[in-house]
C-alpha cells in the first residue's frame, strides 16, 4: 500500500529526501498541465511550476496536514497564478500543441475526434480564468468542489457554480 501524500510530506519535513521524490513523481504531471493550461506562455508556466515546488520545499518546516497535500499544493499554485494574472491582467490560455492523439484508425472518426478535441481546446481556452481553473483543478488535481473552494480561497457555492458553467460550455463544445 502506498503511503499517503501527507505522510510523505511529513517524512520529507523530517529529512527524508526520498519521500519528496515520491511525492513529486505523483503530482508533477498534473500540476504541470494545470499551470500550463492556465497560462499562455510555456516559459512562464515552467517558472511558476518550479516556483510552486520550491515553495513546497521551503515551507516543509511548517507543514501540518490540516488539509490534503493536493489541496495545499494547488493552493500554492493558485496563489502564484493569481499573482501572475494580477501583474499581466487576465490572460486567456493558448494551448500550443494541436498534435492530439486519437484512438481510432478510422479516418473519418480520426477527423471527428481531432476536431472534437480541437473544439475542446478552444473552448477551454475561451473559458473565463476562474472557470477554467475550477475545471482544471477538478480534472487534473482530482479535487472535489469543497477542495476547489479551499484551494482557490472561495466558497463552495462559487466553486460549484464555476465548475458547472465550465463543464457545460466544454460539453457543448465537444458535442457540436
Amino acid at each position: 500500500m502506498e503511503a499517503p501524500d501527507e505522510e510523505l510530506m511529513l517524512a520529507y519535513r523530517d529529512g527524508d529526501a526520498g519521500a519528496f521524490e515520491t511525492l513529486y513523481a505523483r503530482h508533477r504531471g498534473a500540476l504541470y498541465r494545470f499551470v500550463l493550461r492556465s497560462l499562455k506562455d510555456r516559459a512562464v508556466a515552467e517558472e511558476l511550476f518550479q516556483e510552486a515546488w520550491i515553495r513546497v520545499i521551503e515551507a516543509r518546516g511548517r507543514y501540518a496536514p490540516s488539509a490534503t497535500f493536493t489541496t495545499w499544493l494547488y493552493t500554492i499554485a493558485h496563489n502564484l497564478l493569481v499573482d501572475h494574472w494580477r501583474k499581466k491582467g487576465l490572460a486567456l490560455v493558448s494551448l500550443e500543441s494541436d498534435d492530439v492523439p486519437v484512438e481510432s484508425a478510422n479516418p473519418v472518426r480520426q477527423i471527428e475526434g481531432r476536431e472534437s478535441l480541437a473544439r475542446l481546446l478552444r473552448a477551454l481556452e475561451a473559458l473565463p480564468p476562474v472557470q477554467r481553473e475550477a475545471f482544471l483543478l477538478h480534472e487534473e488535481a482530482g479535487l472535489n468542489v469543497a477542495e476547489i473552494a479551499a484551494a482557490t480561497g472561495s466558497n463552495e457555492e462559487a466553486a460549484k457554480s464555476r465548475l458547472r458553467y465550465a463543464m457545460a460550455k466544454l460539453k457543448a463544445a465537444v458535442d457540436e
Binding site: 520529507y12 519535513r13 529529512g15 527524508d16 529526501a17 519528496f20 521524490e21 513529486y24 508533477r28 504531471g29 504541470y32 498541465r33 500550463l36 515552467e46 511550476f49 518550479q50 516556483e51 515546488w53 520550491i54 515553495r55 520545499i57 521551503e58 515551507a59 516543509r60 518546516g61 511548517r62 502564484l80 494551448l95 500543441s97 498534435d99 492530439v100 492523439p101 486519437v102 484512438e103 475526434g113 472534437s116 478535441l117 475542446l120 481546446l121 480534472e139 463543464m167 466544454l170 460539453k171 465537444v174
Partner: protein, 227 residues
C-alpha cells in the same frame, strides 16, 4: 456514461504534457539541498521576496566597512592617550624662546586641560564641538594643533624606543624638553634679576626632574639663593 464522465474522457485524450527533465532535476536537487541544510526555516523567503538576500549581503558589507573605518579613526586617539603623561612632563619652553617668564605657567594648565579632554572626546576632530566646558576655546586651533603635533611627535619618538625605557626617556627629554643646562641658565637669569621666588620654584622643579644631575660649585652659586 454520464456527460461528466464523457467530458473527462475527452479531456484526457488531450496531450498529457510533462515537465521537462531539466526542470525535474532542478526541483529534485533543490529538495535534496534543502534537506541537507536542516533544520527547515520557519519563515523562508521565496519567489519575488528573494531580493532581500543581496540586500542583506550589501548591508553586512557596508557595516563591516563602517566598523573598519571607525576602528582606523579610533587608533590615533588611543596613541595620544597613552603618551599624555609625556606631554605633561614636558618642561616649560626655554627662556630664549619665551620672553616672559609667566608664560610657561599659563601654558601648563592649558596643556593639562587639553590632556583631560581626549579621554572624553577621542576624535580630535570632535574636540571643538564636544570638549568639556573647561576646555580651551576652540577659537585657537592653529596653536592647539601645533601643540598636538608636537606631542604626537614626541610620542612617536618614545614609542619607537620603548624597548629601553631609560633611553626612551632621555630621547623624549632631548627631543621635547630643554636641556638641563639651558634650564639652569634660565634659573640663573631669574636669580640675577632678583626674582628669587620664581628661581626657587624653577630650581625645585629642576631637581625633581633631574635628581641625578650634579651641579658644579660655579653653577650652584648662580642658581641657588644666596645665603
Amino acid at each position: 456514461m454520464s456527460d461528466d464522465s464523457k467530458l473527462s474522457q475527452r479531456y484526457r485524450e488531450l496531450p498529457r504534457e510533462e515537465p521537462p527533465r531539466a526542470l525535474d532535476d532542478a526541483i529534485l536537487a533543490a529538495s535534496r539541498r534543502a534537506v541537507e541544510a536542516r533544520p527547515a526555516p520557519l519563515v523562508v523567503p521565496t519567489g519575488r521576496r528573494r531580493w532581500y538576500f543581496p540586500v542583506a549581503a550589501a548591508a553586512v558589507i557596508v557595516l563591516a566597512v563602517a566598523v573598519v573605518v571607525h576602528v582606523e579613526r579610533e587608533q590615533p586617539d588611543t596613541e595620544i592617550l597613552a603618551p599624555s603623561t609625556t606631554v605633561l612632563e614636558t618642561p616649560p619652553a626655554p627662556a630664549a624662546q619665551e620672553p616672559k617668564v609667566e608664560e610657561p605657567k599659563a601654558e601648563a594648565p592649558k596643556r593639562l586641560r587639553k590632556q583631560a579632554s581626549p579621554g572624553f572626546t577621542p576624535d580630535p576632530r570632535a574636540d571643538s564641538a564636544a570638549s568639556a566646558p573647561a576646555a580651551p576655546a576652540p577659537a585657537a586651533p592653529p596653536a592647539a594643533q601645533a601643540e598636538r603635533n608636537e606631542a604626537m611627535g614626541a610620542v612617536a619618538g618614545a614609542r619607537e624606543s620603548s624597548r629601553d625605557e631609560r633611553r626612551s626617556a632621555q630621547m623624549a627629554r632631548s627631543s621635547v624638553a630643554p636641556s638641563p643646562e639651558a634650564e639652569l641658565e634660565r634659573i640663573a637669569r631669574l636669580r640675577a634679576a632678583g626674582r628669587h621666588e620664581e628661581a626657587d620654584k624653577a630650581l625645585a622643579e629642576f631637581r625633581k626632574r633631574y635628581p641625578d644631575y650634579r651641579l658644579s660649585e660655579e653653577t650652584k652659586a648662580k642658581v641657588e639663593k644666596p645665603q
